[in-house]
């Protein structure tokens, strides 16, 4: 795997902490100074005991430099973002520790290096190193960039974070982006600028040394596929996020916090992409294994010292085992509870039937009416079904009267839900042009994309899956895009523009047929289902290396909230948007 983010994590760990290679190397106790950005990066990647066993005996925030105790015997590892430059300068001017190794998590410029040099009057800085991780590593092929609240220019911020991703993996890519999205267009030119300008110490000049074909950076916009996050997922990791929300590898269930990482949880690693049926089978077997192994530990009551010794040595092992089982048991029972509580066996099937065109409109309509009249089904779930229907067949006003009936819906649909229902299709331009113009005149609405069209029929292509499982019929649009990149002979309606950095042009020319490395960024949120898809494509095609990331991991709830806001924005500033679209 040529794009393994866990490898990045390991290499940077060794860079930062320089673990001793063998026992005869001397021990140097260290302090670790972080800022808020790097704290998240570190805590996503390494455990506290990992740090402790590397003689990191203290971790502090650099912004608290004023309150640190003086400990000149300690060496200090500083791992910060450039946002902490002023704190770092103050710390160096009146230092608390013996010596400093400074690591920035993205590139810094000459002027910034000078400022640090000027403040290092005591000459205590031993190292100044750029490592490139201005992003979080969620899985070996999944990353996330973090938005800081109140960023003045989000394209600039996101661009520099994605640039750090490219640098960390030593890739100078061809940029391909969806031509109908303004956001993506601006982001792509920002990244191209970062690569072509010499602002990164010319680092991009020497990349791609081991790349026979140029890598691809594929920039996509969530708004081109608003459907996928609405569909109830049926594989483990996706379901956990849908029902319990995975927040930076942490899951909260009944006031308990569970850490979920495939790097030190074998069961999770093997089951995260399994569908629900296979998952429950696998878990059953896992519990059986635990039972048979722990029966031996009942020998605690034995008087045989040797046995006791063995058990004692196994003790931590068992503890890990049982805690792990308990965690997954808690998660799986929560998922199970939600499925029956929300009647998802029925709803899930209906969702797949609608989006994959598996039944006639009349039959679907009848089934939807049954759903709408069921007061036990939540209003939100009804809204999701109606949104899928409205994209497939246009919104049917007659549904609204049932949805607004207090006998059927509790609570009644909110204003923003009704709003979204009537505008969803036009919001994403998922209809033909004449209709759009009509609606624009009527409602003063403009489309999210400047007068560019997505052909609605394309959203429902590619769903003829060999998979028999009715719940796994739907395949996200991403699949089509990736397959088209790998095999240019395939039909596809997706329009991609291409930007080629100067150095890439020099080395490979402007036309390349082969594809090996694809780094995908989905602007506006990604689902774990799409992450699973990427994992699956890589598993099935050894020639291709894929990683994917986004600025947010979505589930249907967070996506709906974003949709409500989008409809609201469209209402409050139609004129300005219209104006921008004219330009």
């Amino acid at each position: 795997m040529a794009l393994d983010l866990y490898k990045v994590k390991d290499v940077y760990f060794n860079k930062l902490y320089q673990p001793r290679q063998n026992a005869s190397e001397q021990i140097k106790p260290k302090v670790l100074l972080l800022d808020k950005i790097t704290t998240t990066i570190i805590s996503m990647s390494y455990t506290q005991s990992q740090l402790l066993s590397n003689d990191i005996i203290l971790i502090e925030l650099i912004e608290n430099y004023k309150t640190l105790s003086v400990m000149k015997h300690l060496n200090c590892i500083v791992f910060v973002s450039i946002k902490s430059l002023s704190s770092l300068i103050s710390e160096l001017k009146s230092p608390h520790f013996g010596s400093y190794e400074i690591y920035f998590n993205n590139s810094i410029n000459k002027n910034q290096i000078e400022k640090i040099a000027e403040s290092d009057e005591y000459e205590i800085v031993d190292k100044l190193i750029e490592i490139f991780q201005d992003y979080l590593i969620l899985n070996s092929h999944l990353y996330q960039i973090q938005h800081e609240p109140g960023a003045i220019n989000p394209y600039l911020e996101d661009g520099s974070k994605l640039t750090s991703l490219l640098l960390s993996l030593k890739k100078n890519p061809i940029i391909k982006y969806e031509s109908n999205s303004n956001d993506i267009k601006r982001l792509s030119s920002e990244i191209l600028y970062n690569i072509n300008s010499n602002s990164n110490n010319n680092l991009f000049d020497d990349l791609n040394i081991h790349n026979d074909v140029p890598p691809i950076l594929l920039l996509l916009d969530r708004k081109n596929d608003p459907i996928t996050p609405l569909i109830t997922p049926w594989t483990y990791q996706s379901m956990i996020h849908e029902f319990c929300k995975i927040e930076k590898n942490l899951v909260n269930i009944e006031n308990q916090q569970i850490i979920l990482t495939d790097s030190n949880d074998q069961f999770y690693k093997e089951s995260m992409y399994l569908n629900y049926g296979d998952l429950t089978d696998k878990f059953q077997k896992y519990v059986e294994k635990y039972k048979s192994e722990t029966n031996q530990s009942q020998i605690t009551k034995t008087s045989n010292l040797n046995e006791l010794k063995k058990i004692l040595m196994k003790f931590p092992e068992f503890k890990k085992f049982s805690t792990n089982i308990l965690n997954h048991l808690n998660i799986i029972s929560e998922i199970d509870k939600q499925i029956s509580l929300q009647k998802l066996w029925d709803l899930g099937e209906l969702q797949q039937t609608i989006v994959c065109d598996l039944d006639s409109q009349q039959n679907i309509k009848e089934r939807i009416i049954t759903v709408l009249k069921d007061s036990k089904i939540s209003t939100t779930n009804k809204v999701k079904i109606l949104l899928l229907y409205s994209i497939r067949f246009n919104f049917d006003q007659s549904f609204l009267s049932i949805l607004n009936d207090p006998l059927c819906s509790d609570p009644l649909p909110s204003e923003e839900q009704v709003n979204l229902l009537s505008k969803f299709k036009s919001l994403f331009n998922l209809t033909n042009l004449t209709n759009i113009q009509k609606q624009q005149q009527q409602q003063g609405l403009t489309n999210i994309f400047a007068n560019k069209n997505i052909n609605i029929s394309n959203l429902f292509k590619n769903h003829q899956n060999e998979n028999d499982n009715i719940y796994l019929q739907y395949t996200p649009r991403l699949n089509e895009i990736i397959n088209k990149l790998i095999d240019p002979n395939l039909e596809s309606s997706v329009k991609l523009n291409t930007l080629i950095p100067d150095k890439v042009k020099q080395k490979y020319g402007t036309t390349t047929e082969k594809v090996q490395d694809i780094i995908i960024y989905m602007n506006g949120g990604l689902t774990y289902e799409e992450s699973r898809l990427i994992h699956e494509i890589s598993e099935n095609n050894k020639k291709i290396n894929l990683i994917i990331g986004s600025d947010e991991m979505l589930n249907s709830e967070t996506w709906l909230n974003k949709l409500y806001n989008l409809t609201k924005d469209k209402q409050t500033e139609p004129e300005r948007t219209q104006f921008r679209d004219l330009l």
Binding site: Y12, K72, D126, H210, Q257
Partner: protein, 427 residues
């Protein structure tokens, strides 16, 4: 395998090497390496019975008999549907080498995947940085001399710096001055600074008695010592400049760190010995003594920095002390098992007759072993109690539950052991 890599129409192609030939299906057009391409001297020749290096299938015209252009090994068609760019060997190289500017050549899956290693970039700026730092050294020194001169002027002649700067922002934190945030001037450099003695910006400047600085800098050329009521305003930069030499020399003693350094020194000895011990069992006795010493140090550390109910004595260094204790206790625990093995070997065997005695239910050896178990368990219990406190504080409840369970199990086992030991429990 992916379907798309299997060509629909099979056309076999024969390529001749120096000592033999390959028969393989043709890949897409681009793969046809030109006759003037990559050397074939390293190609493995056909034997009577040839197997694919990867899947061990019998190689024949139907399955393909293909030499990987990179490693030369024979493979089937399926496992050579890959291509890499190669260049010819140079100097003493024996085989073609990967080269991203080279010629596209058919290769085996192994060689393709070997090419796909994840590389990770970091950029060392230290050298540039040190060069730049050097250029600032003189400037900074001049600044410090100037500040010192101005300070002496203030002490000896009562003269403040004359060039007071103008502006609307604090030169340190850049806050804009207003009715609430008043302008002040540093009396040593004349810079504009804010004054916020108790707030967030409290480190921009201080208003301090002149005598307090003189106390810390006793060796300057003072003509007279002003009385201790005279105070003046000084910015953080000037204060840092004045105290530069002093700070450079001071090595404040820190009791915790000193103890810790002592501990890790001991730990280091043990680690070195443990490594030696795996080769030479004779040093076992010495190692055992070191481990015992280390345990004493750990206990001393515990007594010194923790109260009986496990609270940290120096609250301002709480996290540091806890981290240190956890890391050394982790080490001790990991090695106590080894320690037990060693002590079991290096204590002289019990006299035979004791085994004949029927009555005392436990032999000395058993007592010792049980006590050692007890020690390990008690140590674990202490650790876990500590963690429970920590986790309760940081509200990590999921782990807490299993810890409490863990603790109970430990206590049960401890009780059991103590019962078994009975009268031998203490001594």
């Amino acid at each position: 395998m992916n379907k798309s890599t299997t060509p629909t129409k099979k056309i076999n192609k024969i390529s001749f090497g120096e000592q033999g030939f390959s028969i393989g299906d043709q890949q897409d057009k681009s793969s046809s390496s030109s006759p003037t391409g990559i050397v074939r001297s390293h190609w493995k020749t056909l034997q009577s019975n040839n197997l694919c290096k990867i899947c061990h299938i019998n190689l024949n015209v139907k399955n393909g008999i293909v030499n990987c252009r990179k490693c030369g090994q024979l493979h089937c068609n399926l496992h050579t549907h890959y291509e890499v760019r190669l260049r010819n060997p140079q100097f003493d190289e024996k085989t073609p080498q990967y080269d991203s500017n080279g010629i596209w050549s058919r290769c085996c899956e192994t060689c393709y995947l070997e090419r796909q290693n994840t590389e990770v970039l970091s950029n060392n700026l230290t050298e540039d940085f040190k060069k730049i730092r050097l250029t600032f050294a003189d400037v900074n020194e001049l600044k410090r001399i100037k500040v010192q001169r101005n300070f002496l002027k203030l002490v000896n002649e009562g003269k403040e710096v004359t060039h007071w700067k103008t502006g609307n922002h604090c030169s340190i934190c850049f806050v804009k001055f207003s009715l609430l945030i008043r302008k002040h001037h540093c009396r040593l450099c004349g810079d504009l600074v804010c004054d916020d003695p108790n707030g967030y910006r409290k480190y921009c400047s201080i208003y301090l008695p002149i005598i307090s600085l003189i106390d810390r800098l006793p060796n300057l050329n003072y003509d007279k010592i002003p009385n201790d009521t005279i105070k003046f305003r000084c910015c953080i930069n000037c204060k840092n400049g004045l105290l530069f030499e002093l700070r450079k020399q001071e090595q404040p003693e820190n009791e915790i760190i000193k103890t810790y350094l002592n501990l890790i020194d001991q730990r280091y000895q043990i680690e070195v010995m443990l490594e030696k011990y795996s080769k030479d069992e004779k040093i076992g006795h010495k190692l055992m003594n070191h481990l015992k010493d280390f345990e004493k140090l750990v206990i001393n550390f515990r007594n010194q920095f923790f109260t009986n109910d496990l609270r940290v004595v120096q609250i301002e260094n709480e996290q540091l002390i806890k981290n240190i204790y956890q890391s050394i206790a982790m080490f001790l625990q990991d090695n106590l098992i080894k320690y037990k093995e060693i002590s079991a070997i290096h204590v002289p065997p019990e006299p035979q007759k004791e085994e004949i005695k029927p009555e005392p239910s436990l032999t000395k050896k058993q007592v010792r072993e049980l006590r050692e178990q007890l020690m390990v368990l008690n140590e674990q219990k202490f650790l876990i109690e500590n963690m429970i406190k920590d986790f309760t504080k940081s509200r990590r409840f999921d782990e807490l539950n299993s810890l409490i369970l863990n603790k109970q199990e430990l206590e049960d086992t401890i009780n059991e052991l103590e019962n078994k030991l009975g009268e031998f429990k203490f001594i």
